[in-house]
Symmetry: C2
Subunit: 246 residues, 2 copies
């Protein structure tokens, strides 16, 4: 039995998210079925993180145990051939130790959130950005974001469905930058609460459009109350960028 | 009657190209029908250039004459509301003189061609790049491209359906650059022959994969013969970037 580490790019648009669901297609199911057709084995794919419906990945990391002897080349090529036409691409594979785990060995996760900040709607990047037509002040949002960096109780920015044992998390960085017509948010932490990035971005947009001051982000954080939250940013602007391992 | 200049972003995927066709949807038809619903007028949209099926535009320029009094804001917002769900966005509008013409006043056109140069297929940019899985030498392609810059008879790089009176064109620049996993070609000229950019890119890929030397591009150009050509690059990697006016 070999444990394989996989790096996976996917367009979240047609999926209910990473994890297998009864009510619709998932990235996990697409990969597991491709692996089954290739090897005859019902191996489980474990990912560094779950993603919500519509959320994309530039480089998700997952692992699976496979008995059939395979080379890196054959596994990657076989999965990519069999997973079509699902918009999922295995960009790298490698053998790892039997106790290596995509989720539990992961020591850092990075996300990107893209807003298209212009009046006209997106044509080329539809489904790949959140369209916010009112002008946003990126500097004010960066000032608000700074209040969130560090170790905090992120109850305000947590989904009611969050399964994390504790709302205490350390946000290592949260950068806000204007890139042409877009605004990019880059978040890094060991781990995130469910909906944390989308909650933070939604709240910062309230700062960007002037309804909130940057310091109101701190008040919302301290309140530890979902009611203190701005709106959640929609999933289509969110990208899982990278999982980091020792 | 007011002549309006429009800047248009579109995803070429679902279209037969810019120009109206009997056998399928076109960007021109989508825009003309939105304008008709908005104004009751059957105004023709004239573009800086035609594009083939599947070719995208970051900023196509077009014009149309409209009798109904409109503000810039109302025209842009109205078209964007009525053109949905087609992936077309009017990003800017302005009034121009009655003798201003999107095609005939245009003094420069710029194109971008994107290749995804990695073994795994695209997931997030499917339909937005040409996937070339074999490694390409960008420096050799840049050397080959240099032979094409200047005033030449581009018969070799011309579609049999090209309607241009002369195959003589001046290519102002053709830059080849590696950008992460992609290779970008940027071409600028007053005007191009039909399929010229896709022919040049297809030929340069023969240089990039080592089948041709950079100097073979010059031989192909001098031959003035379509048979001397490498393959045509597919439409999905091509973007009309900008039309330039005095």
């Amino acid at each position: 039995m070999t444990r394989w580490r996989l790096t996976i790019e996917f367009d979240g648009g047609p999926f209910m998210g990473w994890q297998r669901q009864d009510h619709g297609p998932s990235v996990q199911q697409a990969l597991e079925e491709a692996l089954l057709r290739m090897t005859g084995e019902r191996a489980a794919m474990h990912a560094a993180g779950r993603t919500d419906a519509g959320v994309h990945a530039l480089a998700m990391t997952a692992h699976a145990d496979v008995a059939k002897p395979l080379t890196e080349h054959r596994l990657r090529e076989g999965l990519n051939a069999l997973i079509r036409p699902a918009p999922v691409s295995v960009t790298a594979v490698s053998q790892v130790a039997d106790d290596w785990h995509a989720r539990f060995s992961c020591v850092g996760r990075r996300y990107l959130y893209r807003i298209l900040n212009r009046r006209p709607p997106p044509a080329l990047n539809r489904g790949k950005v959140w369209h916010v037509p009112v002008p946003l002040d990126a500097d004010a949002m960066a000032e608000g974001a700074a209040h969130l960096v560090g170790r905090h109780d992120f109850t305000t920015f947590r989904s009611v469905h969050c399964q994390s044992q504790s709302p205490l998390k350390t946000l290592d960085s949260l950068k806000v930058e204007r890139v042409g017509e877009e605004i990019h948010f880059r978040a890094a932490a060991r781990s995130f609460l469910h909906h944390q990035v989308r909650s933070m971005v939604g709240t910062l947009v309230q700062v960007g459009n002037g309804r909130w001051g940057p310091e109101d982000v701190k008040s919302a954080l301290v309140a530890k109350d979902r009611q203190a939250l701005g709106l959640n940013a929609p999933p289509e602007g969110l990208y899982f960028v990278e999982a980091i391992y020792p």
